[in-house]
C-alpha cells in the first residue's frame, strides 16, 4: 500500500532531501525533531512537525520509543531513517514493523546480518564476492590471530566485528605489534560496541575506495554503477565522484555484478551500498562492507543516472516493484560531490557550531546544492558537522571539475569556518585533477599544506 504520511526521523540536509522526494510523490510529510531543531528548515517546510525530545541525540533522534510513539501519534504509516542515527539499527526497523509502521529500508534481519562485519564477509564469500584475505570468523584469542596472520601476511588490520565505518581499526606491521595491539583492540571493541569480537584483514596499501549503489525490492536488485570515494580524512569521506576514474569497463562490470550478487543473496530491499577496496595496480577489488541505508554521497549516482534514489526508496517501501530495470540505468557524464562541514581545516578540523551570518549559494548549469542552511541559522553543537553538499555535474570529468571550481568560487558562508576553502585548494591540486590518489593520500597532503589551510 502506497505511503500516505511519512515521518522523517532525521535532520539537516537529508531530512530536506527526503521531504522533497516525498512531496513529489504526493506523500504528506511530518518532520520529527529535537528541541534544538525547532527553527530548522526541515521543520519549517514540512506539512507538520513533532518534537521527539531534548537536544542530545541519545534522547531524541536515537530514541526508538520516542520516534515510534511520535509516528503513531501523528498518524504516519511509514518512517524514513535517513543516514546515521537509527538508519542501521535492526531493532528500530523491527520496532517500526511491530507498531504497524513501514520502515523505509531493508528488514531488521538484513541490517543485522550486514552490521555484523564477520557475517557480512561470510555472506559476501558465499555470493562469490572477493573479500580481503583475513579471518573467516570472529576471533577472541591472540593465538588464533597469529594463525590467521600466517595466511594474510603483513601489514594486517585488526577490526571490531561489530564495528564499521572505519571505527576501531588498528594496523599491525609485525607480529609483535599485533600482540601489543590485540588486548587494546578487544577492550575498545567491548567498550564501544558491547562486543569484544575481532577479525583480521590484510591491509591493502595505496587502495582506492570504490562503492556500488544498489537498489532492491526484496526480489530483484539493480545497480546504479559505482562511486569513487578515495579522498578521506580519518576514514571520513570528503569528496566523492561517479563514475570511478580510469576504471576498466570489464572491471566495472565485474564490480557491479558482484555487488548485485551480494544484495540478491540477502533479498535486499531499498537503497544500499556495497563498498570495496580497489587495487589499481592489480585491478583486483575486495569487499569491505555493505551499508544498508541511503548514503551521504548518493547524489553523484543520481546525477549520472538521472534516477531519484530517495523517491525509488519510498515507492519500494510502499510496496511497488523496482521502478526500472537494469537496462534503464544508463550513466551519462561525470559528477563530483564535496562535503562542506562546520570544521576548521586550519585547526585540525575542530568542529565549529555557530550562527550562519551570511550565505551566498552558487547556481548555474550542472550545480546542485543539498543543504538545510539559511542566513541567520544557528548550527547546533549536538550533531554531525555536515552543513552542505555541493555537487557539480558535467558531460565529462573535466567539465565537472571546472564547474566545481567555478561553484566553489561563488559559494560564501559567513560566520563560521568550513571546509569550503580546503576544497578550493583540492580542486586545483594536480594529484586530485589527475586522480592520482588513494585512501591514505589526503592526510599527508593536509600535513604538508598546513600553512595554506590556516
Amino acid at each position: 500500500m502506497a505511503i500516505r504520511t511519512l515521518l522523517v526521523a532525521n535532520r539537516g540536509e537529508i531530512a530536506l532531501r527526503i521531504q522533497r522526494a516525498a512531496r513529489e510523490l504526493g506523500i504528506r510529510v511530518v518532520q520529527a525533531h529535537s528541541a534544538a531543531d525547532r527553527d530548522s528548515l526541515p521543520v519549517r517546510l514540512a506539512d507538520a512537525a513533532v518534537e521527539i525530545g531534548p537536544p542530545p541525540a541519545k534522547k531524541s533522534y536515537l530514541s526508538i520509543p520516542a520516534i515510534v510513539e511520535a509516528a503513531l501519534r501523528v498518524g504516519a504509516d511509514a518512517v524514513h531513517p535517513g543516514y546515521g542515527f537509527l538508519a542501521e539499527n535492526g531493532e528500530f526497523a523491527d520496532a517500526c514493523e511491530v507498531a504497524g509502521l513501514v520502515f523505509v529500508g531493508p528488514t531488521g534481519d538484513t541490517i543485522r546480518a550486514m552490521g555484523d562485519k564477520v557475517e557480512a564477509r561470510r555472506l559476501a564469500a558465499e555470493a562469490g564476492v572477493p573479500t580481503v584475505p583475513g579471518s573467516a570468523r570472529r576471533i577472541h584469542e591472540l593465538e588464533e590471530a597469529r594463525e590467521v596472520l600466517a595466511r594474510t601476511g603483513l601489514p594486517v588490520m585488526i577490526k571490531a566485528a561489530a564495528g564499521g565505518g572505519g571505527r576501531g581499526i588498528r594496523i599491525a606491521r609485525d607480529a609483535e605489534e599485533l600482540a601489543r595491539l590485540w588486548p587494546q583492540a578487544r577492550a575498545e571493541a567491548l567498550a564501544a560496541f558491547g562486543d569484544g569480537g575481532l577479525y583480521l584483514e590484510k591491509r591493502i596499501e595505496r587502495a582506492r575506495h570504490l562503492e556500488v549503489q544498489v537498489l532492491g525490492d526484496g526480489r530483484q536488485v539493480v545497480h546504479l554503477f559505482e562511486r569513487d570515494c578515495s579522498l578521506q580524512r580519518r576514514r571520513q569521506k570528503l569528496w566523492e565522484e561517479a563514475p570511478a576514474v580510469r576504471l576498466d569497463p570489464v572491471v566495472r562490470e565485474r564490480l557491479c555484478a558482484a555487488a548485485v550478487r551480494l544484495a540478491e543473496r540477502v533479498h535486499y530491499r531499498g537503497a544500499g551500498t556495497v563498498e570495496f577496496l580497489f587495487d589499481e595496480d592489480s585491478g583486483e577489488f575486495y569487499f569491505l562492507e555493505m551499508n544498508t541505508r541511503i548514503q551521504v554521497e548518493h547524489p553523484v549516482s543520481e546525477e549520472i543516472t538521472g534516477i531519484d534514489l530517495v523517491k525509488a526508496m519510498l515507492e519500494i517501501a510502499g510496496g511497488a516493484p523496482l521502478p526500472f530495470r537494469q537496462e534503464g540505468v544508463v550513466p551519462r557524464g561525470h559528477a563530483i560531490e564535496v562535503r562542506i562541514n562546520a570544521e576548521d581545516p586550519g585547526r585540525d578540523f575542530a568542529p565549529h557550531p555557530g550562527r550562519i551570518a551570511s550565505l551566498e549559494l552558487p547556481g548555474g548549469p550542472g550545480v546542485r546544492i543539498d543543504t538545510a542552511l539559511y542566513p541567520g541559522y544557528e548550527v547546533p553543537p549536538f550533531y554531525d558537522s555536515l552543513l552542505m553538499k555541493l555537487i557539480a555535474r558535467g558531460r565529462d570529468r573535466a567539465e565537472a571539475l571546472a564547474r566545481l571550481e567555478r561553484a566553489l568560487g561563488e559559494l560564501a558562508i559567513g560566520g563560521i569556518p568550513t571546509t569550503a576553502g580546503l576544497h578550493r585548494l583540492l580542486v586545483r591540486t594536480p594529484e586530485v585533477r589527475s586522480w592520482d590518489v588513494h585512501t591514505a593520500w589526503l592526510e599527508p597532503w593536509l600535513e604538508s599544506n598546513r600553512e595554506k589551510l590556516a
Partner: protein
C-alpha cells in the same frame, strides 16, 4: 568559604564519565585541583575534556550527565 564555578568551555552535550562503563571523573565531595578533568563536552561528535581552572571541594554538579550545555554555562560548584 568562597563559592567557585567550573564553566563549560564549549557548547554541546556534557558527560561526567570518560565512557559509559567507567566511573565518573569526579563525584560530589571530591577535591578538585586546577587542571583536573571533571567531564567531557561533546561537540559535533568530537569529545573535549573540561579542565577545572579553579581548585576546591566539589559541592555539586549543576547539570545532569548527558545534558545539553551552552558555552560559559556553570557545570559544577566548588567551595574552598
Amino acid at each position: 568559604m568562597a563559592k567557585k564555578e567550573i564553566l563549560s568551555p564549549l557548547p554541546g552535550t556534557f558527560y561526567r564519565r570518560p565512557a559509559p562503563d567507567q566511573p565518573p571523573y569526579k563525584s560530589e565531595g571530591d577535591p578538585v585541583a586546577v587542571g583536573d578533568v571533571v567531564g567531557l563536552v561533546e561537540v559535533m561528535k568530537s569529545f573535549n575534556e573540561v579542565k577545572s581552572e579553579v581548585e576546591g571541594k566539589l559541592v555539586r554538579f549543576l547539570v545532569e550527565n548527558e545534558d545539553a550545555v551552552m558555552a560559559g554555562q556553570p557545570l559544577a560548584e566548588l567551595e574552598g
